[in-house]
Amino acid sequence: MSSISVARPDLLRSARARRFWRHGGLELALVTLLALALWTAISASIARPDRYLPSPVSVLDSSRDLLWKGILPNYLGQTLWRLVTGSLIGIALGIPFGILVGLNRTVSEMCYPILNFFQSISGIALLPIVMIWWGTTEKTVFVVVLYTCFFPIAFNVLTGVRSTPRIYVNALRTLGASRLRIVRDVLLPGAMPSIATGARLSIGYAWRAVIAGEMLAGRRGIGWMIFSAQQVDRTAQVVLGMALIGVLWILLDRYVLRPIESDTIQRWGLVQR
């Protein structure tokens, strides 16, 4: 694959195109067409397709309507804003917490079970309690997303810090390094792969928590859109929202999270244990 990268720019385009077709592009195009055809056929053959399975055309039609009124961009923006703020703050809090706890063996052994416990309570299960505390406010969704993000990342950072070989820490210590220096030069780089993996995992959980939070707490967003559309029998909007949720997550995962993870592992992950 890397041998193509030295090709001249005019060749690059065709080489890239050829690589796309060779690595499953043809299959992707075929299977998409097939799925759309199957979907259209099923929706044409059932009774009341508007209610049970609207055809792709009517789904697109409903998107035009929503775009025209400016509702769709607004909802998408709000959902993404919730995801980004909640998960970034959760990660920003979780990383230092995990490192601080991981510094000391006794403290880390103390905190491991309780972090594990809170990690296994999903944020969605906490939604009813948080709704009793703060009602159906923006705070409710934010806190649930924050919670969903914080514990997996803190847990992963702790595991990553603890699995950094002691020999590196000791080596730096014999050279007279300070604590801060050890954190910066040994523990943080050593924990980088777990941080990246933990971040991707926790953002995946947070994405589902945002959707569920919007549905249950009734905050405007893409999750709320599909929930309320179902209640007024607009199934086309439900399907549209589902497709958008899928596409958004694939874009986020493919072009943001996975590159960060693989770059981090490539850069920091090949430490000799």
């Binding site: 690595h23 499953g24 299959e27 992707l28 075929l30 299977v31 998409t32 799925a35 209610r51 049970y52 006794t106 052994e109 103390m110 905190c111 491991y112 079970p113 309780i114 594990n116 416990f117 296994s120 309570i121 999903s122 969605i124 299960a125 906490l126 939604l127 009813p128 309690i129 709704m131 009793i132 505390w133 959980y205 589902r208 959707i211 569920a212 549905m215 249950l216 999750g223 599909i226 929930f227 559309a229 179902q230 199934t235 439900v238 399907v239 929202g241 589902m242 497709a243 949720i245 899928g246 596409v247 997550w249 694939i250 995962d253």
Partner: protein
């Protein structure tokens, strides 16, 4: 390392400290009323919520028979029953289709994006459409769980089968093996670590999705119990439900899935990979 050595005892004792501190704070809150009981019910009332919910339940046998008075055990059994059913149905289907797609290169290439897309919309996003199709009730929640389990297991099996080096297949074929032999002796064992990881992931995501689906589109189960209790402001029942959910998940994950994963990787995971 001995099984009950000093290190293990030390870890258990140390790990108990934060739980004790939190429990003490919780009890102190009940005494000093920093937070109102409706927001943070005292431990004693969470404990007694068990007996309130189980009021019309004379004995263990009645609970197992799902008598009408045993609310808590009925909800637990109902959720766990769906998990068991989705395991019995979803796992074999996911593994079978995953292996089928994995051994055919073209088919695998074609079905991989389908798996990616299906996993991206997994769980909670299907709930409104499932309600349209199946109505509010157990069918919807079962569909959500099955959907999550099937696609994750399918996708991981597909990746696992495709990751098995071709050399092994050629080697076994050269020795005169049948197609079936290749599947059972090469592909399935080679893909097992990936399959087991898929099972663990599917249980993790599936359990969360099930709770959420029961809240929105269910009529029984732990998630439904949480939601109804919250609407009636019976906070102690909500706390009880959350604790039960956490304990069930920790028991399944720590006692079954993690050992299963570790055993599989130890037994099957260290395959020599030709470079």
């Amino acid at each position: 390392m001995t099984r009950f050595g000093r290190g293990r005892l030390r870890r258990i004792l140390l790990g108990a400290i934060p739980f004790l501190v939190l429990g003490t704070l919780w009890q102190m809150n009940a005494v000093y009323r920093w937070l109102a009981p409706i927001h943070m019910p005292p431990p004693a009332s969470v404990w007694s919520a068990i007996f309130t919910l189980q009021e019309g339940c004379p004995g263990l046998l009645d609970a197992l028979r799902q008598g009408s008075g045993c609310l808590l055990t009925n909800h637990i059994l109902s959720s766990m029953g769906r998990v068991a059913l989705s395991l019995v149905v979803g796992l074999p289907l996911g593994i079978a289709f995953g292996v089928l797609a994995g051994i055919h290169r073209r088919l695998g290439n074609a079905l991989e994006p389908v798996g990616v897309f299906a996993n991206a919309i997994s769980g909670i996003a299907w709930v409104p459409l499932a309600i349209v199709w199946f109505g509010v009730g157990w069918r919807t929640t079962l569909f959500i769980l099955l959907n999550t389990v099937f696609w994750l297991v399918f996708f991981n099996t597909l990746l696992g089968v495709r990751g098995v080096p071709r050399v092994y297949e050629h080697g076994v074929l050269a020795l005169g093996a049948t197609r079936w032999k290749v599947i059972t002796q090469v592909y399935v064992p080679g893909a097992l670590p990936s399959i087991v990881t898929g099972i663990r992931m599917s249980m993790g995501f599936g359990w969360r999705a099930l709770i959420a689906a029961e809240m929105i589109g269910g009529d029984r189960g732990l998630g439904f119990m949480l939601f109804v209790s919250a609407q009636e402001y019976k906070t102690e029942e909500v706390f009880l439900g959350v604790l039960v959910i956490a304990v069930i998940w920790m028991l399944t994950d720590r006692a079954c899935l993690v050992p299963l994963e570790r055993w599989t990787i130890e037994r099957w995971g260290l395959v020599w990979r030709p470079s």
